[in-house]
């Protein structure tokens, strides 16, 4: 399969006054098209940094990030904006919905950015939000808000769905349902999904698991037999 994104010797150094912190230290891996990948690591391991760089929210200090043959680490801010717009969908731990737009409006907002968005009604169906379209975020539960957030990411029809601790703010059961949904998105809508988590059992469901520790890749495992989410307990 084709590589959808490849990180080559990525280094990210944060300067905080006189101290500098290496959040990513020589990280290399790639994700293939259609993969369901998990980046696993404890907090402070640099996994969010990696995701931010993959998503075009941040630039590496050195190294390459190759997407479709071009190195996005050399992109201008303007080009990165277009990259985020056309290639990437984000799902966050704290949903980050627009509080004064309804569920459907939040999704519409993203859809209008895309040249070939998915059908909004179908996406709402797919994430299981039917009947809640006209609710404002404050009128939705956490799980429902995350569904809106996923719908918002998916509706743009991006090649890459990046999820930063998507279950971090949710209870056990709701978290499971959200993971199931992300899995469905991967399998049914054929989207490449990358999930960041510190929750190791989740790794069993992935096609590929990248373990990150102290800013470098500790191990990279291909999972020949991913487990369905229903069978995972933690």
């Amino acid at each position: 399969m084709d590589k959808i994104i490849e990180l080559v010797e990525v280094v990210k150094e944060y300067k905080m006054g006189e101290v500098s912190v290496l959040a990513a230290n020589n990280i290399s891996f790639h994700i293939e098209e259609g993969e369901y990948a998990v980046i696993l690591g404890p907090s402070g391991s640099g996994k969010s940094t990696v995701l931010n760089i993959m998503g075009g929210m941040d630039k590496p200090t050195s190294g390459k990030v190759i997407v479709n043959g071009s190195d996005i680490s050399k992109y201008s801010d303007r080009d990165l904006t277009l990259y985020r717009r056309n290639m990437v969908g984000f799902v966050f731990q704290f949903y980050n919905l627009m509080p004064n737009l309804t569920a459907v409006e939040n999704i519409e907002m993203a859809a209008q950015l895309s040249k070939n968005p998915l059908n909004i009604g179908e996406v709402i169906d797919a994430v299981g939000l039917k009947g809640k379209e006209r609710n404002f975020p404050s009128q939705l539960s956490g799980g429902e808000q995350q569904r809106v957030s996923i719908a918002r990411a998916v509706v743009k029809n991006p090649s890459l769905l990046l999820c930063d601790e998507p279950t971090g703010a949710l209870d056990y059961n709701t978290g499971k349902m959200i993971l199931k949904l992300l899995h469905d998105v991967n399998r049914k809508l054929k989207k490449t999904v990358v999930i960041i988590t510190h929750n190791s059992p989740i790794a069993h469901t992935a096609d590929k698991v990248i373990k990150v520790k102290s800013g470098h890749v500790e191990s990279l495992v291909r999972n020949e037999n991913p487990q369905p989410i229903e069978r995972i307990e933690w």
Binding site: S48, N52, G55, M57, D58, R78, T81, L82, Y83, R84, R85, N86, V88, F90, F92, F94, N96, L97, M98, P99, N100, L101, T102, E105, E108, M109, A110, Q112, L113, F136, P137, S138, Q139, R152, K156, D164
Partner: protein, 789 residues
């Protein structure tokens, strides 16, 4: 508390832009307060001192001709007269630097003594016993015409040039603001001046041996000047009274008193607008800070800080703004006051014993400012009372979204794109904030409109007076009434193509007990050169029988169109009352005048007399000089004015109005930008997560800016829509409040003014948006997404 103070300073540092904007507005308010009030005090104090020291008159009477001993009689027979002096006062023409100008010859005692309307010698000396033709010249005229002691000036008296030797430069409380008559608002020092001569000399050149034509007096304290005026009227009636003028109506005094009164009212209204806006912004900014630091407040309370300590910490923000604003504003105000006083003293020749700075004004200014700041601060900070520590440290409940009424109109709402929906919902989410922003915009729009209105009104008045109503080229006044034969001679001066005789005389007009001294102008039937016009500039045909007066005079007399009024001319032996019907109202901006057609006054003037003034049209402007020089050769010709020269001078003098308009525009721009800047900074800060989410989703900067800035544009448009009628109202109120008995300008608004005001304010908003777009650009995605709230 020291640590908290450090926190406060750091908070200040983080919100520099906002606090600077508030500070500017507070400082401007204080600056206007101290500056304008200092000017008003400077002028008013200097005026009072001047009047007292040099015995400025309480009443004067202009007579046709009276024996000198009438002064003694006045002193003896009228109770309460403290001092009285008789003088010869006569306007004559003078050729100076190739132009005919008017000078007022005023007699002074041959040797110096205390007198009413005394003079101050600025340079040179008083008359000596030598030559009889020594003269003293009023300072402003002296300076404007580059005269110096030892020069000769040559006024034309009875057709002859009389050589006068300048021995000194003087000033007088009588001519602080030297205008010739009530038809001029701005003095033209080059073209009108006062020349003081020896009494004996005046007697001989005017052929008035042992006589006077002007009597001026001061009265004892506690005596009603109206009573003295009435008695003076009776006593001097036989001498032929042109007019009796009380101090309050004396031209120079009236102009300076009106100016002082206007300064006084703008000295309180201007600052209030600024302090109100500052208070509104403080209210919002402080509210935001408290809201933002909820968790911190919770922590402070949990540690054991009391409500009062927390409140006073936050109140200190607004107190610091108030104190800093007062200090900066007071310093600026001192300079502004000096500048304004100097500016005023260009027009008013007052002995300003050094331009004083009133440090005493700083205290009330600071108190008022602090009051506004603390009031606003307290109202927004009292929320800290309600914050429970445990609750405050928990995450804030999510911001709510709600449906708003516009959404009920589905067809409309569904057409909006998401950013417009967000904008509109956000406006309704923070209604109070949107309302206060609108108020800022409404004020700014209004102030622009008022500034433009002032300029328009003056342009309009000039246009009406000089372009619509005066179609002549030259106006000539005669020192006596001419008969038709004499008028004909003037008509036959080469290049004169048309001549219209006029009668201009002072009269007393009365309706029952209400009376007023005014000027009456009588014109021929169907005049073409001197036309009475209505508000739109259309010619008004004067009725053959009856009189027309201004709206204001109608109010003073308490009369109505169709009622009868009495006229009493101040012409010797012609003091019968003549009834005339009020036939209509004509607009008038300067002075109080009545107009009638010629027929009406036949009985009022002498047999065979037809005019004491005339307006002329000439074939070509280039012949103006030759016609004017022919006119000057006529012995009875008094003032000769070219309309174009007058118009040019008036326009030049009106530059003042442009500077006022300029100040208003600057003030409005500062106001609009400061308000928008503050509110938007808050908006960006509060919504940074939303904005960054949009960034992450791949929205372009321009699209994200739209989400925030559309809101400003919407509020601005709304503010402008309300601001335009508000400004109109403000303009009308202002012109009305500036109205004096002497002049009343209409509030004129042009369609282009509304457009200018709207566009200017909109540009301010767009410019501020542009400045603020940097704040959105630098929002850090990674940093902000990491934080929970």
């Amino acid at each position: 508390m020291a640590v908290l103070f450090k926190k406060l300073l750091r908070d200040f540092n983080e919100a520099k832009g906002q606090f600077t904007a508030i500070l500017i507005i507070v400082a401007i308010g204080v600056m206007f307060y101290t500056g304008i009030n200092a000017t008003f005090r400077n002028l008013s104090e200097a005026k009072d001192k001047y009047y007292k020291k040099y015995r400025f008159e309480d009443i004067h009477a202009n007579l046709y001709y009276a024996p000198e001993n009438i002064v003694q009689k006045v002193k003896q027979e009228i109770n309460g007269v403290k001092m009285a002096d008789g003088r010869i006062v006569q306007d004559v023409k003078m050729y100076l630097y190739g132009k005919y100008i008017t000078v007022r010859i005023v007699s002074l005692p041959d040797s110096r003594r205390e007198m009413v309307n005394d003079i101050v010698i600025k340079s040179g000396r008083y008359f000596s016993g030598d030559e009889s033709n020594q003269c003293l010249i009023e300072e402003q005229f002296f300076k404007a015409n580059n005269l110096s002691v030892g020069n000769m000036v040559k006024p034309i008296i009875n057709g002859m040039e009389v050589k006068l030797k300048v021995v000194g430069k003087v000033a007088s409380p009588e001519y602080i603001y030297p205008v010739k008559d009530g038809s001029e608002i701005i003095p033209d020092y080059k073209k009108f001046g006062i020349i003081y001569v020896k009494k004996s000399f005046a007697e001989s050149i005017f052929g008035m041996n042992g006589s006077i034509n002007n009597i001026c007096l001061t009265i004892d304290e506690g005596i009603n000047s109206k009573d003295v005026k009435d008695k003076l009227d009776k006593l001097t009636r036989k001498s032929g009274i042109k007019e009796i003028v009380e101090r309050k109506d004396q031209l120079s005094n009236r102009m300076i008193s009106d100016e002082i009164r206007q300064l006084m009212s703008s000295g309180s209204s201007f600052p209030i607008v600024f302090l109100l806006v500052a208070a509104a912004i403080i209210y919002i900014v402080m509210g935001r800070i408290v809201e933002n630091q909820r968790t911190l407040i919770g922590v402070m309370k949990a540690m054991g800080y009391g409500n009062f300590q927390v409140l006073s910490h936050y109140l200190l923000y607004s107190i610091i703004v108030g104190v800093a604003g007062s200090v900066i504003g007071s310093i600026l105000g001192l300079y502004f006051g000096m500048f304004l006083t100097r500016f005023e003293s260009q027009y008013f020749n007052l002995p300003l014993s050094g331009v004083k700075m009133y440090t005493g004004l700083i205290i009330p200014a600071s108190i008022i400012t602090l009051f506004f700041c603390i009031l606003a601060g307290y109202n927004s900070c009292k929320a800290v009372f309600g914050i429970m520590p445990a609750e405050a440290m928990k995450a804030k409940p999510p911001k709510t979204g709600r449906e708003i009424f516009i959404e009920k109109i589905g067809i409309l709402w569904n057409k909006f794109d998401f950013s417009l929906k967000m904008t509109i919902r956000n406006i309704f989410r923070y209604k109070k904030r949107a309302a206060l922003t609108s108020i800022g915009i409404i004020f700014a729009t209004g102030i622009v409109l008022v500034g433009l209105c002032v300029k328009n009104s003056i342009d309009y008045a000039i246009d009406m007076q000089y372009l619509k109503s005066s179609k002549y080229d030259i106006k000539v006044d005669f020192t006596k009434f001419l008969n038709s034969q004499e008028i004909k001679m003037i008509r036959h001066i080469p290049h004169v193509v048309k001549l219209e005789p006029l009668v201009e005389t002072g009269i007393e007009i009365s309706n029952g007990w209400r009376k007023k001294d005014i000027g009456l102008t009588a014109v021929i039937d169907n005049p073409e050169l001197f036309i009475v016009v209505d508000e739109k500039g259309n010619t008004v045909r004067l009725p053959p029988k009856g009189i027309m007066i201004s709206e204001k005079l109608k109010r003073i007399l308490g009369t109505e169109v169709g009622e009868n009024l009495s006229l009493k001319p101040y012409i010797p032996n012609k003091d019968d009352k003549n009834p005339l019907t009020l036939k209509g109202i004509v607009p008038q901006f300067i002075g109080l005048n009545a107009y009638c057609s010629y027929e009406n006054i036949k009985g009022l003037i002498g047999e065979g007399d037809i005019a004491n003034s005339a307006v002329l049209k000439i074939d070509d402007v280039k012949n103006q000089e030759s016609v004017m020089s022919r006119l000057k050769d006529i012995p009875v010709a008094g003032a000769i004015q070219s309309k174009n020269d007058t118009l040019k001078n008036v326009r030049e003098s009106m530059e003042v109005a442009s500077s006022f308009t300029g100040i208003m525009l600057v003030v409005a721009i500062i106001l609009a930008m400061a308000v928008i800047y503050n509110i938007t900074t808050i908006n960006i800060f509060e919504r940074q997560k939303e904005l960054v989410t949009l960034k992450v989703l791949g929205f372009k900067d321009s699209e994200i800016n739209r989400v925030v800035f559309n809101e400003n544009i919407l509020i601005t448009v709304f503010g402008i829509i309300l601001g335009l009628p508000f400004g109109r109202l403000l303009g009308v109120i202002m012109t009305k409040s500036n109205e004096t008995e002497f002049y009343s300008l209409p509030a004129v608004f042009k369609a282009s003014d509304y457009i200018t005001a709207a566009v200017l304010v909109l540009i301010c908003t767009i410019l501020t948006n542009f400045i603020l777009s940097k704040k959105i650009k630098i929002l850090d995605m990674v940093e902000i997404m990491k934080s929970r709230e």
